[in-house]
Amino acid sequence: MFGLIGHSTSFEAARRKASDLGFDHIAGGDLDVWCSAPPQLVENVEVTSATGKTISGAYIDSCFVPEMLSRFKTARRKVLNAMELAQKKGINITALGGFTSIIFENFNLLQHQHVRSTTLEWERFTTGNTHTAWVISRQVENNAPLLGIDLAKAKVAVVGATGDIGSAVCRWLSSRTGVAELLLVARQQQPLKDLQAELGGGRVLSLEEALPEADVVVWVASMPRTLEIDSASLKKPCLMIDGGYPKNLDAKVACEGVHVLKGGIVEFGSDIGWTMMEIAEMEKPQRQMFACFAEAMLLEFEECHTNFSWGRNNITLEKMDFIGAASVRHGFSTLNLQGQPQAVVV
């Protein structure tokens, strides 16, 4: 059995969803009520792979909403309680979706292995980052040519290059794709230098320096609230992969010749009988989902019950190959610019 831990994109959206599900007492509650609301297993689902194999899974809403990010204890509790519920339900492998894995990582929840009488078994959880990194890399490879961008001659900026996903994308693009030049953007200089040494290349730039030079920009970093992007200074055409959460890049760079693609999203080959992707505001909620969620499904299909993506900077090319091959085999495709999935050739 696979599990997905997710949450609504906003407090308002969460209340609407709760009302649809018949949780009227929570739907009508204020933020304090939500802060005390326990996680809920809201949906069970069956998924059949392109290979014919069927697995079952469950969606757990942690009752976290982004408005709780400033309440650190609340956010921490929401994540741990949702993980405890997943484990108690006997779920083999659960993906931490949305802010869940960010909170886990940034609040260092590894030191909170005991939740009441439960000892969390980390091998039951995955951040899903390996699949996300693979999908983003493939989105670059598939979509740049559609805009007439020849990757062999292109400069690809990775914003958030030193993060877990960013560094994996850099590794893939530099070893497997052969992009002309990687532009490495991140806040901290030392990890950037380390990454540059590991890659044996790439140029370290500030965001302001990198953007006007880039044919492709992969965004996998937190964006300062005040950040404004001067669309006029961007190359045309420019492919922007919005690999962050939530997806809010379109509004900042809407401009002729600048093409924004939602990064790290996959589409399954057939409809899945669930309703929960509606809260993630997918265009086709019956088929589309975050690649990190799909990773839990893939690991269950492959009976690979381990914390496949865990910790920082552990994503190897071999792991990306494994999850990528599984992704294709079981019927997932990456989202592309036309809004249509494109068959992936590995």
């Binding site: 007492h25 990010l69 650190f72 979706g97 802010f99 960010i102 260092n108 009441r116 996998v220 939530p246």
Partner: protein, 241 residues
């Protein structure tokens, strides 16, 4: 999706979560709050003893087991009395009696009417889930003496919750309607008890938000184990929120 392009994420940066702060157990403010919290725990364990003894007369075929459960509660009561003594605090027992008054009176009425389902819901589900959640939250912020005692107690309380759970599960269909009614009448009392104790609990570094969520998790888990479905549980929990 772990790498956000989001303004909110700024608040997540580099937060030091390594040390939970322990309260100063020697201040007057702590001792004052402790005098009420400690009394609630002592009174709660005493009433639990009485309630399990009463239940033993209602379910004679389980009388031996219920007496055994009752005796465990008596042992807990003595342990918590020692915790107060250790800090030099005199438990405010009259406050605690009043605190449990409404719930205790509902139990007594149900007992007189022979309503075993209601009695089990009050003692074995509500009070035990309440105690378990509170003890779990207390343990990390307790003084070393009380911490050891409470760690022992919380393990026992699961067996009490489990007793009620199993009995109600075995008699689910026959108990269902009474459980709905008993929940409606008693869950709001638990909520108001939580509200009453919130500021004293905060002095002990136990937050109301944690107490409510942990209680609801335990209670909902028990209801689910007994046989209620998600919607029924949601409807029942509405009485608490």
């Amino acid at each position: 999706m772990p790498t956000p392009v989001s303004p909110e994420v700024a608040v997540l940066d580099e937060r030091d979560t390594s040390a939970e702060q322990l309260p100063d157990f020697t201040t007057e403010a702590y001792k004052d709050a402790y005098s009420r919290i400690n009394a609630i725990v002592i009174e709660g364990e005493q009433e639990a003893y009485d309630n399990y003894m009463s239940l033993g007369t209602m379910i004679p075929e389980h009388a031996d087991e219920l007496v055994r459960l009752a005796k465990m509660e008596m042992k807990h009561m003595k342990g918590f009395t020692a915790c107060g003594r250790n800090l030099g605090v005199e438990a405010d027992l009259p406050f605690a009696k009043e605190f449990f008054g409404p719930l205790h009176s509902n139990f007594k009425t149900a007992f007189k009417e022979g309503k075993v389902v209601t009695c089990l819901l009050i003692q074995a589900l509500l009070i035990e889930a309440f105690a378990i959640s509170a003890y779990h939250i207390y343990i990390p912020v307790a003084d070393p003496f009380a911490r050891r005692i409470t760690e022992g107690v919380v393990k026992d309380e699961y067996t009490h919750l489990n007793y009620g759970q199993e009995w109600l599960k075995a008699n689910f269909e026959a108990s269902k309607e009474e459980l709905f009614a008993a929940n409606k009448a008693n869950l709001p009392l638990i909520r108001s008890m939580l509200d009453q104790v919130a500021s004293d609990a905060a002095t002990l570094h136990m937050e109301k938000e944690d107490l409510i969520e942990d209680f609801l998790i335990g209670y909902q888990e028990a209801l689910s184990e007994i046989g209620f479905n998600m919607r029924e549980i949601a409807r029942m929990a509405a009485a608490a929120l």
